[in-house]
């Protein structure tokens, strides 16, 4: 009987994941990952609605006991701080907009947790992601495919997993709709059946810029808002407060709506423009990872997704040098943001992705 470690957050999805795998005959071990930093616990900054809330341990433990599976709370504080929080902070300080969930998946859930799973003698790590992992018999490669439910599709944040990682991953929820999962939770009598979905960044309370200032020595430096031609429009609070496409919270009013269209870190300037200035036809990406293909040769038609909530759009991708990929969209896309991931699909199959530069 294969052994599987299920990352349990105390939420509906991971609870049903554990239940399904047990039903399928796996020997299931539940693990809740303790990623809370001391200062967060003390300041109660951890939000209730996220997957990492402190109440998670109680809920997850209750579910595990109810299912009759082994259960551990294990420590991932250090790796989470290094690979997720510090990365998140560094990127913002560099004027980029990071996606911490991607880093968490690669280094924590399918990195450090997978290592612990090996220590426990487990063959797989499973999570409640709405995604499918398939071993393609023709290519011999492990692929991520979109789940049956488009609304909850969570493949985007998984683009960076290696073939080795994917060979030890199970996503049993990929075949279900969220509503079906809730029903299963109810049927199993799990008290978490009606818990709200987790959302936003688990370690940030309200304002990520406040979070950065409270948790580092970094002090946001006041600078200028400028227009496309370099003309000063007013003062900004420091670049970490802004992200591409942002309109609210600029602190000055204009006769027509103005948006953040770019950030110049050297000059400490935030460039404002009109909505149409946010549209671009192409983007470039590095830190690439390919899944369905080993490497990209020539041009390939795909659909591309530039942020978690973005609807995949038609594009052509090609390598322009050994490390850099160019993605040319059929239609201009709004607010292509440095630091975010771009992920490519061929129908339901994930081709790969990279970080927008």
């Amino acid at each position: 009987m294969a052994k599987v470690v299920v990352g349990m957050s105390g939420g509906v999805d991971s609870s049903v994941t554990a239940a399904l795998l047990k039903e399928q005959g796996y020997e299931v071990i539940g693990v809740t990952m303790n990623v809370w930093q001391k200062e967060m616990e003390e300041g109660c900054q951890v939000r209730e609605k996220t997957c990492c809330a402190l109440s998670a341990v109680n809920d997850a433990q209750n579910v595990a006991y109810k299912l009759g599976i082994e259960y551990y709370v294990l420590n991932f504080r250090e790796v989470f701080k290094k690979e997720v929080i510090d990365y998140f902070i560094d990127e913002y300080i560099k004027g980029k907009t990071p996606n911490p969930c991607i880093a968490c998946n690669k280094y924590v859930k399918f990195g450090a947790l997978m290592n612990k799973a090996k220590v426990l003698g487990a063959d797989y790590v499973a999570t409640g992601h709405y995604a499918k992992v398939v071993n393609n018999e023709n290519t011999g490669r492990y692929e991520i495919r979109k789940s049956v439910t488009d609304k909850k599709d969570q493949t985007y944040a998984l683009y960076n997993l290696t073939q080795e990682q994917l060979s030890h991953v199970l996503f049993p929820l990929g075949d279900y709709e969220k509503e079906e999962v809730r029903k299963m939770a109810e049927k199993l009598g799990l008290a978490v059946a009606n818990k709200p979905d987790s959302q936003e960044i688990c370690f940030v309370d309200k304002d990520y810029a406040d979070f950065i200032e409270q948790n580092t020595n970094y002090k946001a430096k006041i600078g200028n808002f400028v227009d496309k031609n370099g003309k000063t429009l007013g003062k900004h609070k420091g670049i970490i407060h802004y992200t591409i496409g942002q309109r609210k919270g600029l602190g000055i009013s204009f006769s027509v709506p103005k948006y953040v269209v770019d950030i110049n870190i050297e000059k400490n300037e935030v460039i404002l423009g009109d909505n149409e200035d946010l549209f671009r036809n192409t983007l470039q990406a590095r830190d690439l990872n390919f899944m369905s293909i080993e490497k990209l040769e020539g041009e390939m038609k795909v659909t591309a997704k530039i942020r978690y909530s973005h609807a995949p759009s038609d594009a052509t991708i090609l390598m322009i040098d050994a490390q850099t990929l160019e993605c040319r969209f059929a239609e201009p896309q709004r607010a292509i943001t440095k630091g975010q991931a771009v992920v490519f699909y061929d129908g339901d199959v994930m081709v790969g992705g990279g970080v927008i530069i």
Partner: protein, 394 residues
């Protein structure tokens, strides 16, 4: 299963349970009631108090039963501080106390007390000169553990007691790890208050005691009925008290002989581990340590994985203290003896009992060798170390 976590807790010995049983079923009377059933129960309770007092070199009226070692520590520290608030607001303790002491001290800081946390040397000992120098006119309490729960180091309690007594400062010691293993005489060692806990020496859980020397003024911590001479309210846990008392007595029978055997086994374990596992070290003083304690660090691996892997082989061990809920941070004790963060993360505490056998230790060492090797193979730190030609600055 091999149980090597006797510093976390211990099984209750059969003779202890046998002595407890009548107090559940026969002498169940509430000791505070008037009728004969209760008067008989009360008599046994007071008899137990005397038996405990004798074993500590104390008088009967100096022993108060509590629900745990933690309660005893909290009571002694908080109420001793509060009662002396007008006299002074300074407390002296060490950096390697159990959290029951450290967190109680932190609470007193919130109430306006100043706390000195004494450093320890690389073997876990405090310097008596440091202690003397830290004493101020405002010092009202010195609280220093008898023996450390993680690395087993034994503190110079008699010397500390002498200093405190000369200065007229109350001296409390958390002796939770020492009672049942070491011979303690509160009078000779000038101890004013001492905490102990039943389940650490084959007694039941949920029962502890605090010794308070006559002449030391301390307020009640639990308010309610007039039990424990008005100092600790709550119906007495009579079966627990009987169990603690019996277990304490049993622990002193043939103590020297038992300790000699445990020390031999412990030293055998230490020698094998240090000799057969590369990049391992022993934490704490080599000889001034609890007879049953061995605490190791294995570089390049993390304590939590080590425990999970040993658990797979049925070996129960811990990484320092078992009192943190589920998860493990680098030990404050190992950081205090000067170990760098990454090494303080990879510790393993094996605590023996007088029933531990050489065969169990041989099995443990063999498994430990396998596990350490396997975890190092998975460790990026180990990989880096080998890449650098096996040299570094630590």
């Amino acid at each position: 299963m091999i149980y090597l976590d006797n510093s976390a807790t211990t099984p209750v010995k059969k003779e202890v349970i046998d002595e407890m049983i009548p107090y559940f079923t026969e002498f169940y009377g509430n000791p505070s009631s008037l009728y004969k059933l209760s008067r008989d129960t009360k008599r046994k309770l007071e008899d137990a108090r005397e038996r405990v007092a004798t074993l500590l070199g104390a008088d009967k009226d100096e022993i108060y039963f509590t629900a745990s070692g933690t309660e005893s520590d909290n009571w002694a520290i908080k109420q001793m501080a509060r009662v002396n608030k007008k006299k002074g607001n300074h407390i002296i303790t060490t950096k390697i106390e159990h959290h029951a002491v450290l967190h109680a001290c932190e609470e007193m800081e919130k109430e306006g007390f100043e706390v000195t946390y004494l450093d320890v040397d690389s073997e876990g000992k405090i310097s008596l000169d440091d202690l003397k120098e830290s004493i101020k006119d405002t010092t009202v309490l010195i609280t220093i553990m008898y023996a450390n729960n993680e690395i087993g180091v034994i503190m110079p309690i008699a010397e500390i007691g002498k200093i405190a007594r000369e200065k007229g400062i109350a001296f409390h010691t958390d002796a939770v790890q020492a009672v049942g293993k070491l011979t303690i005489d509160v009078k000779k060692e000038n101890i004013d208050m001492l905490s102990l806990s039943g389940h650490k020496f084959n007694g039941p859980k949920g029962i502890g005691a605090l010794y308070v020397r006559k002449g030391i003024r301390i307020n009640s911590f639990m308010h309610g009925g007039g039990q424990e001479r008005g100092k600790r309210a709550g119906t007495e846990n009579v079966p627990g008290i009987i169990g603690l008392t019996k277990a304490f007595e049993v622990s002193t029978e043939n103590r020297e002989e038992k300790n000699k055997k445990v020390v031999e086994l412990r030293d055998y374990l230490i020698e094998r581990v240090l000799g057969e596992i590369q990049y391992s070290r022993l934490n704490g003083h080599r000889t001034d340590r609890l007879p049953n304690n061995a605490n190791f660090c294995f570089r390049f691996i993390e304590g939590e994985s080590l425990l999970l892997a040993l658990d797979n082989f049925g070996i129960c061990a811990s990484s320092g203290s078992a009192c943190t809920s589920g998860s493990l941070d680098p030990s404050h004790v190992l950081l205090a003896i000067g170990l760098p963060h990454e090494i303080a993360h990879g510790s393993l505490r094996l605590s023996l009992s007088d029933e531990t056998t050489k065969e169990e230790l041989d099995f443990t060492v063999e498994k430990l060798k396998t596990v350490v090797e396997r975890l190092r193979d998975m460790s990026p730190l180990w990989e880096d170390f080998l890449k650098n030609g096996g040299e570094d600055n630590v």
